[in-house]
């Protein structure tokens, strides 16, 4: 029965306790459950641990491998540090939701088949939405609804792909695929929605910064990285992923440069960093896949660290706009130093974790003679330093004196940040400890003099560019339009116009009908005149079209597709 005691189940079982217990008992559960889960991750052996049958399909809820354990390790560790960061400040239900969300991510890591994977996938979508709603503002509620709509849509596309693949091949095993037919394309698109690939990249920066300071730390870690993990398993070497990744890399930089909200800058830089991983998966060699996995591992640590640092600022001041911040280094030294370490790590400075993992991806591109990819990734590395490495700490902690003198982080938040800051440097100094656990044998040394000098030049001269171009980067109180404008504004306007046009036509036709059928002594309203009350009701239905009706249409399409396919 020991196999039932999976890392996922332990975390799931802890969540009711978090709600039921109080005080020290609750704190103990919050801190101990992820550690037990982490220990259990390392007890999962290679291969399928348990199998059940579900109709004619073989379900494998737990399957182990080096790659699976690597991702599950960082997710469990992230849960612990997230719990440590949050347990004295967050409401219990936010932490509980965060833990179910994390359990879903670990569940995906060990899912041996597509059905299990899909169940945990949806669990994550559901509970990450709750974490966003825990932001508590009306903006958080609305962003949560948009986020949920996007992820349910992505989940449905994934489900269509899984069902049709299962019907075609008779198996729900997770095997490497190529996007070549309907089912594999649907699966790929479903996965790409979760990595924030174009054209739906906007969901990430729309939703994450609306969560609470503690909630956004959880959010930064799981959704995109489980999707990266699944892409490594299912689409290694899929050529389309290279341009998709490069787009994400550049998109993240440009939007982060335009952004004023500190946490939104970090959210855009998630898209940027995940772009590096997606591109590496597209390259698909052993070195590239190792690079993607290692970079995901390092990324979760420094990105959570950056979100924690920004979170402390928001927690202490209630402000996240760069225009209103500045000069906080005076009273928040711990938060500032941890934020700077995270910023150096994300930029890939030598002796930080980012350097030891990002160089793997560049080397993989060079080995395959992908000249354009190599130079674009190098340019992007410079851009990362520009938008996250300097811009974030500069505008938050230095820049000008905003007059704010907040206290530094509470002890538990400091402890969480210091732990992850230390890990950023530890992995940077002893990369072999991470390399040893990568899916393929590693024959790679990041610290050759050529690479170190090349990156130092690249990054330091980006720094020079930043300070010389500072007048061009003055923050403005603005947001930036994204492709989601199409469904947030254009589609809504179109549906409203369409609805009023339909109404006008109906009324017009009915007026003529009334005139023609004048001999019948009927009251106009019975003939189709829309009363005011009905009109309001109809407009309301149209207004909700994008959410309610989309789900309905997808269900109808899905059922008809399956029906056609089966017959």
């Amino acid at each position: 029965m020991i196999e039932w005691l999976s890392p996922t189940m332990v975390l799931l079982a802890s969540t009711p306790l978090i709600g039921l217990l109080r005080g020290h008992f609750r704190a103990t559960v919050i801190l101990v459950a992820p550690l037990i889960s982490l220990w259990l991750v390392w007890q999962v052996p290679d291969g399928v641990v348990m199998a059940l049958s579900f109709f004619e399909y073989r379900i494998e809820p737990i399957e182990g491998s080096a790659l699976r354990r690597l991702f599950a390790t960082i997710f469990a560790l992230m849960t612990f540090v997230g719990g440590l960061y949050a347990f004295r400040q967050s409401r219990w239900y936010e932490i509980a939701a965060g833990y179910v969300y994390a359990a879903g991510a670990i569940g995906v890591c060990f899912a041996g088949d597509l059905i299990t994977l899909f169940i945990y996938w949806e669990l994550m979508a559901l509970f990450s939405t709750i974490v966003i709603w825990c932001g508590g503002t009306s903006a958080a509620r609305q962003a949560g609804i948009r986020y949920a709509t996007m992820h349910l849509l992505g989940g449905t596309i994934l489900m269509i792909g899984i069902i049709s693949l299962a019907l075609e091949s008779g198996s729900v095993d997770i095997v490497p695929l190529r996007a070549s037919d309907f089912s594999t394309w649907m699966i790929l698109i479903g996965l790409l929605v979760n990595v924030a690939a174009p054209p739906v990249s906007a969901w990430l920066a729309d939703a994450y910064p609306e969560a609470s300071p503690t909630g956004s730390v959880f959010l930064s870690a799981f959704t995109t990285k489980t999707a990266v993990f699944t892409l490594i398993l299912m689409f290694p070497g899929e050529p389309i992923l290279i341009p998709v990744g490069l787009y994400m890399v550049m998109y993240g930089i440009i939007y982060a440069l335009l952004e004023n909200d500190a946490r939104r800058i970090l959210a855009y830089s998630i898209v940027n960093q995940v772009g590096f991983m997606v591109c590496a998966i597209g390259i698909g060699t052993e070195l590239a896949l190792n690079g993607a996995a290692a970079h995901a591992f390092a990324h979760i640590i420094y990105k959570a660290l950056l979100f924690m640092s920004a979170g402390v600022v928001v927690y202490r001041t209630g402000i996240s706009k760069c225009t209103d911040l500045g000069g906080l280094f005076r009273t928040m030294p711990i938060t500032m130093v941890c934020g700077v370490i995270g910023a150096l790590a994300i930029s890939g400075f030598p002796l930080t974790s980012g350097f030891t993992t990002k160089t793997m991806i560049s080397q993989a591109a060079a080995n395959e003679s992908l000249v354009a990819v190599y130079f674009l990734l190098a340019a992007a590395s410079a851009g990362v330093f520009l938008h996250a490495g300097i811009k974030f700490p500069w505008f938050v902690f230095f820049q000008k004196d905003s007059g704010l003198r907040p206290k530094d982080a509470p002890w538990n938040m400091s402890a969480a940040m210091i732990l992850f800051a230390a890990l950023c440097i530890f992995i940077g100094v002893f990369p072999e400890l991470l390399y040893r656990h990568l899916p393929y044998a590693v024959d790679f040394n990041a610290y050759t003099p050529t690479k170190v000098i090349y990156y130092l030049q690249l990054l330091m001269f980006s720094g020079l560019a930043f300070f010389l171009l500072l007048p061009l980067m003055r923050r403005t109180r603005t947001i930036s339009l994204d492709i989601d404008w199409l469904w947030r504004v254009a589609l809504v306007a179109l549906s409203r116009n369409l609805s009023s046009w339909v109404q006008a036509t109906t009324v017009h036709l009915n007026t003529r009908r009334v005139r023609w059928l004048g001999q019948f002594n009927e009251r106009p309203s019975e003939l189709g005149y829309v009363t005011r009350k009905q009109k309001v009701l109809r407009i309301d239905l149209w207004r909700n079209w994008s959410i309610g009706s989309t789900a309905l249409w997808i269900a109808v399409l899905l059922i008809s597709y399956v029906a056609i396919y089966v017959t």
Binding site: G383, Q457, T478
Partner: protein
């Protein structure tokens, strides 16, 4: 005292900032000069040139900042554009 109204933190003094700039420029030069001693070729020839990383990094940043600036003219909107109060 840190945090007094009249701001006199040592990091904010013009003298310190000047010194930081000098230090930074020296580091920049060192990073280029160091390349003379370690030799080493790039992957594609051109990236092995002396100071390639420096020039490429600088130019890439200039291009990205200007691209963002131009795109910003088209994409930037008031914070209330989507009709949500942000706080």
């Amino acid at each position: 005292m840190v945090g007094s109204i009249k701001d006199d933190h040592w990091l904010e003094r013009p003298k310190t900032i000047k010194r930081l700039w000098y230090g930074f420029v020296i580091l920049l030069l060192l990073s280029v000069v160091a390349q003379l001693f370690i030799g080493g070729k790039g992957y594609f020839g051109i990236d092995g040139w002396i100071g390639f990383g420096a020039g490429f990094g600088f130019l890439a940043c200039v291009v990205m900042v200007i691209t963002a600036k131009i795109l910003g003219k088209v994409l930037k909107r008031e914070e209330s554009f989507y009709g949500e109060s942000d706080d």
